[in-house]
Symmetry: C2
Subunit: 111 residues, 2 copies
Amino acid sequence: MTGCAGKAQAHGKKASTQQGVASYYSDRFQGRTTASGEPFNQQALTAAHPTLPFGTRVLVSREDNGREVEVLINDRGPYVKGRIIDLSKRAAKELGMLKRGTVPVEISFVQ
Amino acid sequence: MTGCAGKAQAHGKKASTQQGVASYYSDRFQGRTTASGEPFNQQALTAAHPTLPFGTRVLVSREDNGREVEVLINDRGPYVKGRIIDLSKRAAKELGMLKRGTVPVEISFVQ
């Protein structure tokens, strides 16, 4: 179910995909204000993306084992070359990447 | 010059050392308030440590190549197992660890 690669349709809109590296937030950021104005919560299924509008739903799939999680964009970042998304700890846990810290992913979303 | 290993003396006080992994701050934290109350600045030579008093000077030495930097503790963290210090970007640059992200270090300080 890592589909949606450029061709998929959802509600009549085209889904886009992007490949790169996902990381997750430091606990240092817990409770701080995100770029959207919402307080950050490690236990919510949210993420930071450089450009996608706040509120965009993004499906994040690990390229190595296919594990997936759906998150809502509510912050800006990551700020490291090659990284495409920063996940909350809960989302990172669902992908099984807490120990490793970073993993290659494909993200898909409807713009 | 990774000395100070338990035996060194400075101003009549004993220096302590600790080994573990160093990481550095995300740009997301730039300008935010640290645990000491100071605004965080990626360009200052500061760091986060779980327990050392704010204002403690710490010498950070890479275990693999001996590169060193001195930082002032002004925040709490890291919050990841095995990590002993989170460095500002400038300090991480002086250690040459920006690309790698994490490196094994020894830290030494006078308590």
